[in-house]
Subunit: 235 residues, 4 copies
Amino acid sequence: MSNTKSTQRRRGRPQGDEVKIAILKAANELLEEQGLSGFTIDAVATRSGAARSSIYRWWPNRGALAIAGFLAETAQKIAYPATGSAVADIKSQLMRVAEVYGQKVGRTISALVAQGQSDPEALKALLEGYVLPRRDEAKKVLARGVANGELRAGIDFDVVIDALYGPIWYRILVPHAPLSREWAAALADHVFGGLMASPAAPEGVVDAAGSTAPPPARRRAARRAVPQNPPSRGS
Amino acid sequence: MSNTKSTQRRRGRPQGDEVKIAILKAANELLEEQGLSGFTIDAVATRSGAARSSIYRWWPNRGALAIAGFLAETAQKIAYPATGSAVADIKSQLMRVAEVYGQKVGRTISALVAQGQSDPEALKALLEGYVLPRRDEAKKVLARGVANGELRAGIDFDVVIDALYGPIWYRILVPHAPLSREWAAALADHVFGGLMASPAAPEGVVDAAGSTAPPPARRRAARRAVPQNPPSRGS
Amino acid sequence: MSNTKSTQRRRGRPQGDEVKIAILKAANELLEEQGLSGFTIDAVATRSGAARSSIYRWWPNRGALAIAGFLAETAQKIAYPATGSAVADIKSQLMRVAEVYGQKVGRTISALVAQGQSDPEALKALLEGYVLPRRDEAKKVLARGVANGELRAGIDFDVVIDALYGPIWYRILVPHAPLSREWAAALADHVFGGLMASPAAPEGVVDAAGSTAPPPARRRAARRAVPQNPPSRGS
Amino acid sequence: MSNTKSTQRRRGRPQGDEVKIAILKAANELLEEQGLSGFTIDAVATRSGAARSSIYRWWPNRGALAIAGFLAETAQKIAYPATGSAVADIKSQLMRVAEVYGQKVGRTISALVAQGQSDPEALKALLEGYVLPRRDEAKKVLARGVANGELRAGIDFDVVIDALYGPIWYRILVPHAPLSREWAAALADHVFGGLMASPAAPEGVVDAAGSTAPPPARRRAARRAVPQNPPSRGS
DNA sequence: TACTAACCGAGACGGTACGTCAGGTCTTGGT
DNA sequence: ACCAAGACCTGACGTACCGTCTCGGTTAGTA
């Protein structure tokens, strides 16, 4: 990024990465420990041993610093497993995410989202630096699942990801009950398995509620593959 | 509520409702229009015509005022429909929620959640004043669905509600894509209908990942026998 | 005061003095105990058991209340003695004033003066209600002294009173050292007796500085009798 | 004072004196023009062009600022003259003080004293920063007068200073009549010259009231009449 | 004896200033 | 050129009193 050619040295004192790293580390720790309220530029400066001006030299404001700290330190810790089954991979990763987000990372993420509500740049950075890349990853796994035949062909990946991961973010932001692996497992089962006792109901709902976007293609494919699959909505 | 008998008048000058109402109205408008950043006690005072001290007389801090404004003005605007079908009711309400939250109410709610991340009281107020009551309402509808035979008996209402509403909150807080009725309809269909191409998969996942709450029996049974089998999980 | 003829009774409930008295008492106590900073309308109301509005019904603001409390409760406690000698009366009263002002009354007076600096009405009330009447009293005693032949005929009573009582007020307002009877006695002696070793000096000063009020009588007597005697204290 | 060696530079941005000076200047002007009531931190900030936070960085509260403004701007304007005669010096300085205090400085000082009545720190600062140093100066002049033989050896400097300057402070704080050079001259004459028509009276009083500080100049005259009266304080 | 106007307690209300805190900018001197 | 230190301006926070006002309840003299 800011590197010129390595042969071409700039004048003056070269930038020591230690300062930057110390700042990011301190930022991340504060975010984990105290959330947004304790995350003060001054606090970061004090903890890192850096000066406030050094922070502002590299990041334009506290939102940017928060995101940067998160991305540098925490973001990449949750990787997808890669077994044979896409569904199994997703489910186990979902459980792991629920577990991890239930701890310090959750505090951090909720702080970042909160910051984003009054700081469009921070929101954008969070989206582009974390949310969207991870959604892309998830989509790849889902695509593998479709290719495998584990999942129906017509599913809308974005909707599925929202259905799987949305509840987790919801629970860390609106903590009406703690996150747990068990809850995540149940969530995955519900989403993958459906809830209906009788397959006929949804269509009625769709008609009744005026839905304009019935997903028929999937259904047909599904019908082929699982002939006696009763939840055929159209039938 | 906190009134003693109506015959028992309180001493002192009675509170003029106009002021309180004007304050709440102004608070709500500011929250809708500008989110958290524009939501200042001073701004509320100016817009409402009240004095700052009058605001602080009734609400201890800005978080409490934000919640109160939302609850007083906006919260009750989204009611459940009550047709015959529980599932249809939920789905159509979900779509309506998605629609409404996609507009000004969404800004307000996201601001409130953000505020809650650094203000435990505000978070508590939001939960107790809005989230939990609405979840209870939803649970009643779900229970009706189970009683109807529309839904399986074994489902965990909290998980279902998380699966249905979590994604909406997620999307207003992390707006990677706009909310829409269609998206909500698709979401409902996914959750109610499931995603699996083959119903066998989840169990494998469950086994692999150590889930303790697999809902397999129903589906197999349903597939076989189908109709109004209400196999309660506990049985 | 605001009474119309005593025969002409007004309709309605007459004013009960208890409330007024309780208010004044509380006001005075607060002033004595805590000075200006603790003297709050609210504090007075609470301590007296009266309502704030009752206070404002009778006194226009806190300054007026402070003065009224002082005048009603404390002011008249210091009376002049009346022996034969005017000088002795003044001196003993000065000592008594110093003693009394050194205690709670001093706190009260200093608070009132302080209040007066930012409240012209209060200052005026203090002057007219306390300071000037007492100065008039003192002037009478001084006049008696002149009539007696105890004091020179040409003295300016206002200047004398300033010289005698000014230092007391100065010491309670600028407490560089505590008030005491001894100090007051020394003060009286200095003022009544003068400080000069040689009586010639003042005239020179007077001439040089343009004084318009030379006190010649005493000096002449002194000049005659006691030339350059430098009576050391230790002798 | 607080400087370490000049070679030892402090880190960080050095303080720009302009800001501090502008603040003190504004503070002083406000005090002169409007007294305590107009002396608001906000007003000082506005007039000086500085920020409120800059004021609070250097002074802990409004009392401290008031004192500082006075000491920095006004306090040193009144110096003692230094002619041969101590008495003449004191008298002419007293007249000058009366003249000066009768104008803007008087407003300032009365405001400071008033502030001091509810702010012990401010009172202490006024005493230590202004009152006591000036009293010390006056004592030096008085000592010179004693050395000269102009003044009696036994006089208590503190009492004399109270007698001379107390009335001035009294008059600016309790302005029953305006200050003037003439009044000050008369005051000086009274104090230096005494008031008694006959020198005998005070002793009676002294004895009766237990005074321990008899005024001797008069005594010389008295010595004739009451020769062996040795009311030496030390005995 | 009933009326009725003033008294009284309570407290809502619009204001103003306080002192605190954080954010973000700028200016030094040192390395 | 980078960095620590910290002065500086801005603006919101929550608190404390002020003085005004509007209620409901009470009470003593009058009709």
